[in-house]
Assembly symmetry: C2
Homo-oligomer: 226 residues x 2
DNA sequence: GTCTATACACTGATAGAC
DNA sequence: GTCTATCAGTGTATAGAC
C-alpha cells in the first residue's frame, strides 16, 4: 500500500514560474518602503500597515517576508551599519591630514546623500535613546572613533594641525554632514527650494571642508612638499 | 419664602481647597512627561497612555487637561518655538562678528543644554518632514535666517570675515550645537560617559567657537581696536 | 507561495459615576 | 474636579483558504 518511498529529497517546491525573482523584488520593495516609514515615524510610530501600503502589498505579506516588525527594523539598521562600515577605510598617521579630512567629510556627505532615508532611520533610533544600537555605539563604533582620535592627536603633535579635541572634531563632521539628510525639511523650508541638488551638495561639501580644515589649522592638500 | 435672591454672582465654584494649584502642578507634570515621550518616539509613536504613566496620572486626566493628543503636541512645539525665539536677539552690521558668532554658538548650545527633550522633540518633528512646523520654517524662521545672512555678507564685504555662504554657516552652527542633545545617546556611548557635564559643555562650546571662527576667518574678539 | 479572515491587545477619546 | 468604564478603530501577528 505504501508506494515505494520516494527518496526523501526535500523537493524545493517549484511554485509556478517562481525562480525567486518575485520574492527578491517584493523584499526590495518592502525594505525601501519600510526605511522611509521607520525614518519618518520611528519604530513605534511606524505601522506594518503603512509599510505595506507604501510597498503596494497586503499587510500579511510584509510579515510573511520579514517575520516580524521588529525583525524588519533590525534588518534595516544592520543594512545601514553595513553601508557605514563600508566607508570606514583605514588611515595612518603618515597620511596627509588635509586629504584624509576632506575624504572623510566627502564620503560622509555622500553616504547621507545616497541614503537619506537610512540616515534618518539611524537618527530616529539615536533620538529615541538607541535601544537597538547601544552595543554597536559603545563597542565597534567607539573603537573606530578612538583609533581616528589617536591619529588626529599625533598629527597635532607633529604640528600638522591645531591640538583640537579629536573626538569633538569627529562629532562636528558627523553632525554637519548628517544635518542635510536629517533636517532636510528645515533646509528646504528655509532656503525655499523644493530639493537639494547635486550642485548644492558639492558647494556644501566645499564649504564644510574649507571651514573645518582652516578652523583646525590644517594646511590644504595642494601645498607642494619641500 | 424665597430668600432675597442673591445677586446672581457667577460664583466660581470653590472646589475643596483648589486654588488652581493642583491643576497647575498636573499640567506641568504632563507637559514635562509628554515632552520626553514625544521626543523619544515621535508624534505617532507616543501614546497618551505612556505619557500618563510618565506623569503619574490616569490616562483620562491627560486628555481632560490637554484636550487631545494633537493639542498637547502642538502646545509643546509652540513652547519650544517660544524658547527659541527668546534668544533671537537683534544684531546689527556694526556689531563685532566674533562677539556675535560666539554669542550665537553659546546661546544655541545653552538652549539645547537646558531643554534637551524639547530639542529632541523638535528634531523628531523635522525628521518626520515637519508636518506641524512647515509654515513656521518657511515663514518666520526663514525671514530670521535671511536677515542674519545679509549681515554676515556685509561683514564679508567689509573684510571682517571670509566670504563664506552665510546660510550654510548658520546650518553648521545649528547642527553642531544641536548634536549634543539629539545624538546624546551616541555621544555617551562613544565617549563611555554616563552624562555630559557642564564642564564638557563649556569645552565643546570653546572648541566650536574656536574652529568655526577661525574657519571663517573671523578675528577673535580680544583683538584691541586701533 | 499568496492573501483573506480573524484573534486579541491597545489606541485616542468620551460619557458618566463619584 | 477626578477617575472608571467603555466606545469604535487600529495595532501586530497568525491560522487557514486558495
Amino acid at each position: 500500500m505504501p508506494q515505494t518511498p520516494s527518496p526523501e529529497k526535500p523537493r524545493t517546491r517549484i511554485a509556478s514560474v517562481s525562480n525567486g525573482a518575485t520574492r527578491e523584488r517584493n523584499e526590495r520593495e518592502i525594505l525601501t518602503a519600510a526605511e522611509r516609514v521607520f525614518a519618518a515615524h520611528g519604530y513605534r510610530g511606524a505601522s506594518v500597515q503603512a509599510i505595506a501600503e507604501a510597498a503596494g502589498l497586503p499587510k500579511s505579506n510584509v510579515l510573511y517576508y520579514m517575520g516580524s516588525k521588529r525583525g524588519l527594523y533590525v534588518r534595516l539598521l544592520e543594512r545601514m551599519m553595513a553601508r557605514w562600515n563600508a566607508l570606514l577605510d583605514d588611515i595612518s598617521v603618515d597620511d596627509d591630514p588635509a586629504e584624509v579630512l576632506e575624504a572623510f567629510i566627502r564620503s560622509k556627505m555622500e553616504l547621507s546623500r545616497r541614503h537619506p532615508e537610512g540616515s534618518r532611520l539611524f537618527a530616529a533610533e539615536i533620538l529615541g535613546g538607541a535601544p537597538f544600537l547601544q552595543d554597536y555605539l559603545s563597542g565597534e563604533l567607539r573603537t573606530w572613533v578612538e583609533e581616528r582620535a589617536r591619529i588626529f592627536e599625533q598629527w597635532a603633535e607633529r604640528g600638522l594641525m591645531d591640538p583640537v579635541d579629536p573626538v569633538w572634531l569627529i562629532f562636528l563632521i558627523w553632525s554637519a554632514t548628517q544635518h542635510y539628510a536629517d533636517f532636510e525639511a528645515q533646509v528646504l523650508g528655509i532656503t525655499g527650494r523644493d530639493e537639494i541638488t547635486d550642485a548644492d551638495v558639492e558647494r556644501i561639501t566645499a564649504f564644510l571642508t574649507q571651514v573645518i580644515l582652516k578652523g583646525c589649522g590644517v594646511r590644504p592638500p595642494a601645498a607642494a612638499p619641500d
